[in-house]
């Protein structure tokens, strides 16, 4: 038997119902308070006195008449200010008409003879004009109804009342909104985490909020862990295959040297070199995630210039433009690979590569330009995805798996920078990396 968990959070619906209930209760309490306060409203003394006198006179005059003459008398007693009606039976008071006890007390204070007449003074139809209605019993059991025809001075609380009623309502809407927002906050966290998922690092969302939401978050966390494990397993398996590949490649390389026929040997050596490059780029791509390399202060300018020198040493046309030195914290091996990939790419598709380094103060920017054919706009994003090659229009002369740019994109993402590809007006492609200077 499992006991009900104490303090187990309510479900989503439960919480929202609770919020609604709370809101309604508070609104009810505030309205009641306001309603109560209306009864405390007092009129100016002369106003109360005038009403009191009019009531006493009306009572006197109507009581003197015979029953059939009473309505006519009541009409006669109706002035510009007060309306008087006679009724043989007790009138129903309007459903929403807060009693004005304060005013009643004022009237009785002036005319104590009205005290025992079940005098009832109410605010008619609150919210519109402040018309006071009332009734009291005559000695013979019939009733006299009266109402003010002009708004009563000092009682003109319509706008005040609306405002007063609106303030708690508005506050409650706000409060309710905030409360619902708080309940849904974990869901938003979940959405944000789901959006970030796949980036660097694992992010467990705290299991909080309503029971349903907490369950969704727990399920999401488990799914995240499963996906992560799956990826790690696959990555490790693929990396292991990559590493294992290198032993037979080493054997092949040594064996190829024994081939007497020069052209066959050269072709085989070239094939081995291509396989080697493929394995290297695959491992570089897979290795990014588990790479334990830490950012260290590095001379970015020297590194860029060295990558250019390496290309020049291979007999290629490359240039470096930029300062002699620029230091920033970076993962040097990954950075070197990224720049080398961009330079290789530029020289793959163009005949000349220009690496430009610009110090932008808080940032620095490396641009690698080529004089090749550029990229169709619809390919700009695709080339950053792994295993995509632009071989359709070109002979298949690229080395590797088409992982050059994806490796760069991964590196830049990991460093929190931006990678932008754009076509140059004079033709050719520019790859632009912007990184924070740290």
């Amino acid at each position: 038997m499992t006991a009900r968990l104490p303090g187990r959070p309510l479900g989503l619906i439960g919480q929202i119902v609770a919020i609604l209930l709370l809101t309604v209760l508070i609104e009810f309490a505030i309205s009641t308070l306001l309603y109560e306060r209306a009864s405390q409203f007092a009129v100016r003394d002369d106003e109360a006195r005038r009403i009191a006198e009019h009531l006493v006179i009306s009572r006197h005059l109507i009581a003197e008449r015979a029953t059939e003459d009473r309505p006519a008398m009541a009409r006669d007693l109706t002035t510009d200010r007060y309306g008087v009606t006679w009724s043989p039976a007790r009138p129903n008071s309007a459903p929403i008409s807060p009693p004005l006890d304060g005013m009643r007390d004022q009237i009785i204070a002036w005319e104590p003879s009205l005290a025992n007449t079940q005098l009832d003074v109410r605010l008619a139809s609150p919210g519109r004009s402040s018309v006071v209605t009332g009734s009291f019993q005559l000695r013979d059991g019939s009733w006299l109804l009266f109402r003010t025809l002009e708004p009563v001075h000092g009682l003109n609380l319509a706008t005040e009342r609306i405002a007063l009623a609106l303030i708690p309502a508005a506050a409650l809407v706000l409060l309710g909104g905030l409360a619902v927002g708080r309940v849904l906050q974990p869901l938003r966290q979940l959405a944000a985490a789901a959006d970030r998922f796949g980036g660097s690092g694992e992010e467990m969302v705290p299991e909080q909020g309503p029971a349903d939401v907490a369950r969704v978050i727990a399920a999401f966390n488990r799914m995240q862990a499963r996906i992560r494990n799956l990826i790690v397993d696959r990555t490790q398996a693929l990396a292991a295959v990559g590493h294992d590949f290198r032993t037979p490649l080493a054997r092949l390389k040594l064996r190829a040297e024994a081939i007497a026929q020069a052209d066959a040997r050269d072709a085989i050596v070239a094939d081995i070199a291509e396989m080697e490059a493929m394995v290297a780029s695959l491992l570089a791509y897979l290795g990014g995630e588990e790479d334990p390399e830490e950012p260290v202060p590095t001379d970015i300018a020297v590194l860029c210039a060295t990558m250019v020198d390496n290309a020049v040493d291979r007999g290629l046309d490359a240039r470096y433009l930029g300062p002699l030195h620029l230091e920033s914290r970076i993962r040097p091996v990954a950075f070197k690979r990224a720049i080398a990939n961009l330079v290789d790419n530029a020289l793959q598709y163009g005949s000349q590569a220009t690496v430009t380094l610009a110090n932008l103060g808080a940032d620095f920017q490396i641009t690698v330009e080529d004089n090749g054919p550029g990229l169709p706009e619809n390919m700009m994003a695709r080339v950053l995805e792994p295993f995509v090659r632009l071989d359709t229009a070109r002979p298949r002369d690229t080395v590797g798996f088409g992982l050059g740019l994806p490796i760069v994109a991964r590196f830049v993402e990991r460093e929190g920078g931006r990678l932008r590809l754009r076509n140059l007006p004079q033709g050719g492609l520019a790859a632009e990396i912007t990184l924070k200077r740290r």
């Binding site: 290198r246 032993t247 080493a250 390389k253 590095t298 210039a305 060295t306 390496n310 040493d313």
Partner: protein
């Protein structure tokens, strides 16, 4: 002089055979071993001049093996590894390995690296044992085990293999002129790099990298003779 005796520890039988053949054809005496046990036995058969050690042996970690090897003998060690991650390389070199050959490699590269390590004066090794193998000049720090140059502000300054070797040669002969021919000879010792760049280009690149804050690099050209590092070098 007798052929240098090389102990080869490699678990892949075919690769081991191929390497043994390649080394023997180039005039080395080779003792093959498939695993750590065989390796220790080989030591009992005679002195070893150099150990070629595969980092990924079944059952043992090549790095641990390297550590225990270092306690028993000071023959130079060259790692062979299918992993070419820079971190592995640095860890290996810091553990006292003398070089690191990533798979796959050709005979030329293998032989060049073996020869280069054997040619290295044992004195340099002793230096490495005593200190941390750091050379300091003019604020710059050159780490021999990591093959790394740090600027006066502590930033890593990228050097190619040839540039590093050239700078080490200049440091070894600090405040003395080294003839161009001698430098060319020294840089030839490094075949793996196969850079046919002339020493002058390398020197000009080094100068560019070693210049800083309005100061010229401390490398002087002595016309008609060679080059000189004109600042003192301290070792740590």
């Amino acid at each position: 002089m007798a052929a240098p005796n090389i102990l080869l520890v490699e678990d892949d039988p075919s690769l081991r055979t191929l390497m043994v053949r390649a080394l023997r054809e180039n005039g080395f005496a080779v003792q093959p071993a498939a695993a750590a046990g065989e390796m220790w036995q080989a030591f009992e058969r005679g002195p070893v001049d150099l150990i070629l050690l595969d980092v990924m042996l079944p059952g043992t970690n090549g790095f641990d093996l390297c550590r225990s090897l270092r306690q028993r003998c000071d023959a130079p060690i060259i790692f062979i590894s299918a992993r070419d991650s820079e971190t592995d390389r640095v860890v290996g070199l810091e553990l006292g390995a003398d070089d690191y050959i990533p798979k796959p490699f050709g005979t030329r590269e293998l032989i060049a690296r073996v020869r280069a390590v054997l040619r290295r004066p044992p004195l340099a090794r002793d230096d490495g044992d005593e200190g941390q193998g750091l050379l300091r000049f003019d604020g710059w720090t050159l780490s021999l085990p990591r093959r790394e140059l740090k600027s006066p502000t502590g930033a890593i300054v990228e050097l190619t293999g040839a540039e590093f070797d050239l700078l080490v040669s200049l440091c070894d002969n600090a405040q003395r002129v080294i003839a161009r021919e001698r430098l060319i000879e020294l840089s030839r010792a490094r075949l793996g790099d196969s850079s046919d760049r002339s020493v002058d280009v390398l020197v000009s690149r080094l100068r560019r990298k070693l210049s800083g804050a309005g100061r010229d690099a401390p490398i002087l050209t002595v016309r008609g003779i060679g080059y000189m590092l004109n600042v003192p070098v301290t070792r740590a």
